[in-house]
Symmetry: C2
Subunit: 223 residues, 2 copies
DNA sequence: TAGGAGACTACTCCGGTGTATAGCCATTGG
DNA sequence: CCAATGGCTATACACCGGAGTAGTCTCCTA
C-alpha cells in the first residue's frame, strides 16, 4: 500500500489522512482535525484542493480506485468473500469503513459503489446459474439488486448499531457480523423460508410480477 | 393523531415540529429551523427542554410510543405489513422516516427500535414454524436477528440512496421499494438460492455452527 | 384587584467551521 | 548568484450553531 513510504508530499498525506478521518469519524470531521492528523496546517487543504468538497471528491475517487485494485488483487471475486477478507489489512479496513459510510449517507460515491456491486453480482449469479449452482430467477437483475441491497444494507446497519469502540478494530466487528449471519444465510439460501410455494404462486397469479417496477430499468435501486 | 387540534401548547408544537424536522432534514437540523417550523422563537426550546439533546430524547420517546400505538391499532402485526401500511397516513410516514434515520445513525432510539423488531419477529416466526408455514431453523433467534437486519438494512439503504426529493412523498419511495423487492423476496423465501445443500452441510460439518457467535447471547446485534 | 408564575421573545455570547489573504522558506533554473 | 515558483504556515474573517440572560406579556389565583 502507499503508506509504506512514510514521507509523502503534503497533498497525498492530506488525502490519506482525510480518508482515515472520514472513515473513522464520519464526513463531518473538520478540516482542522484532518490537517492535524496529517500533521500539516489547515490552510494547506485549501492550497491543494481549494475546498473541503473537492478534498472529499478526491477521497471518494481514491477509495473507489483502491477498492477496485484490492479486489482485483484477490482474484476470487465473490462479493461476500471480498468483504470478508477486505478488513484483513489496515488499509482494507479503512476502505471498507469509508465505503460503508458513503453508502449510509447516500453520497454519489456510495451510490456508485452500490451500483458496481450489483453489476458484479449479476454477472456472478448468471455464471452460477448456468453452472447449475444457483436456481434461476424470473428476474435476474432484480434478484441481483435485491441481494446486494439486503446484504450491504445489513452490513451498513450492523456497523451503525455496533460501531467499533476503537476505530481500528473493524476486524472484530466484521468477524462478529459474519459469525452472526453465516448460519441463517446458509439456511435461507439452501432451504428457503416458506414451507410451501403458496405465497409466491399467489403473487405470480396476481399479475404484479409481469410489471417491471417502474422507471427506466436497470439503474441502481430504482428511482 | 394529536395534530388534529391545531393549537397546541408551545412545548407540544415544538416537539412535533422537531420530529418532522428531524425526519425530513436529519438530526442536524438547527434549533432555529425547528423553532421556525413551530412558529415560535428559538429560545423557547431551551425554556421547555433545556437543551437540544433533551428535545431529541423526548422526540425519540414520543416516536417510539406513537409507532407502538399505530402498530397495535392495525392488528395484523407482521412487520413487513406494518411497514407497508405505515406510510399510508402522513403521521405514519413521518414516523417511519424518523425511525429509519435513527437506525441509520445508530442512535439509542434506533437500537431500541431494532431490538423491538427482532423480538417481535422471533415470536411471529415461532408461531409460523409451529403452524408449519415456515421451515424451522437450527437457531431461531439468530434467524430472527438476521432477517430483521437484512430487511431493515435494505430499507435504510434504499432510503439513503433514493431520498424522496419532496420530503413528503415517502409513500412513493416506499412503493418503489416493495415493487422492487417483492418478487426476489418471495422467490428467495420459497425456492432458496443454492441448487444443492453442499455449502450448508460443509458449514455444519465444520463445527462452526455449534459455537454461538460471541458475547452474552440475545442482545440486539451482538457485541 | 394585586401578585406571581410561567409561557414566550429579543438579544447576547462563545466556540467552532469553512474560507480567504499574506507571507515565509526552500528548492530550482537561468 | 538571484529570482521565481510552489509547498506550507499563521492569522484573520464571516458565519452559524447551541447556550445563556433579561425582560415582556398573559392568565390564574388569592
Amino acid at each position: 500500500m502507499s503508506t509504506a513510504q512514510e514521507d509523502l508530499t503534503g497533498r497525498a498525506r492530506l488525502r490519506d489522512a482525510a480518508i482515515e478521518a472520514f472513515a473513522a469519524q464520519g464526513f463531518d470531521e473538520s478540516l482542522r482535525a484532518i490537517a492535524a492528523r496529517a500533521e500539516v496546517s489547515a490552510g494547506l487543504v485549501r492550497h491543494h484542493f481549494g475546498s473541503k468538497e473537492a478534498l472529499r471528491a478526491e477521497c471518494d475517487a481514491t477509495v473507489l480506485e483502491r477498492y477496485r485494485r484490492l479486489k482485483e488483487e484477490s482474484l476470487q471475486a465473490e462479493p461476500k468473500q471480498v468483504f470478508n477478507q477486505l478488513p484483513g489489512s489496515r488499509e482494507g479496513g479503512v476502505l471498507l469503513l469509508y465505503i460503508l459510510r458513503s453508502a449510509r449517507e447516500g453520497s454519489p460515491a456510495g451510490r456508485q459503489f452500490t451500483e458496481q456491486l450489483i453489476e458484479e453480482a449479476l454477472v456472478l449469479l448468471d455464471q452460477a446459474v448456468s453452472r447449475g449452482l444457483i436456481v434461476p430467477s424470473r428476474d435476474e437483475p432484480a434478484r441481483a439488486r435485491f441481494l446486494i441491497l439486503q446484504s450491504l444494507g445489513a452490513l451498513v446497519l450492523y456497523f451503525a448499531l455496533n460501531p467499533p469502540q476503537d476505530p481500528e478494530d473493524f476486524t472484530t466487528v466484521m468477524q462478529d457480523y459474519y459469525a452472526h449471519v453465516a448460519l441463517p444465510t446458509l439456511e435461507l439460501f439452501t432451504e428457503g423460508l416458506f414451507a410451501d410455494p403458496g405465497y409466491l404462486n399467489e403473487y405470480l397469479a396476481s399479475g404484479a410480477a409481469g410489471i417491471p417496477p417502474a422507471g427506466p430499468a436497470g439503474d441502481t435501486v430504482s428511482r
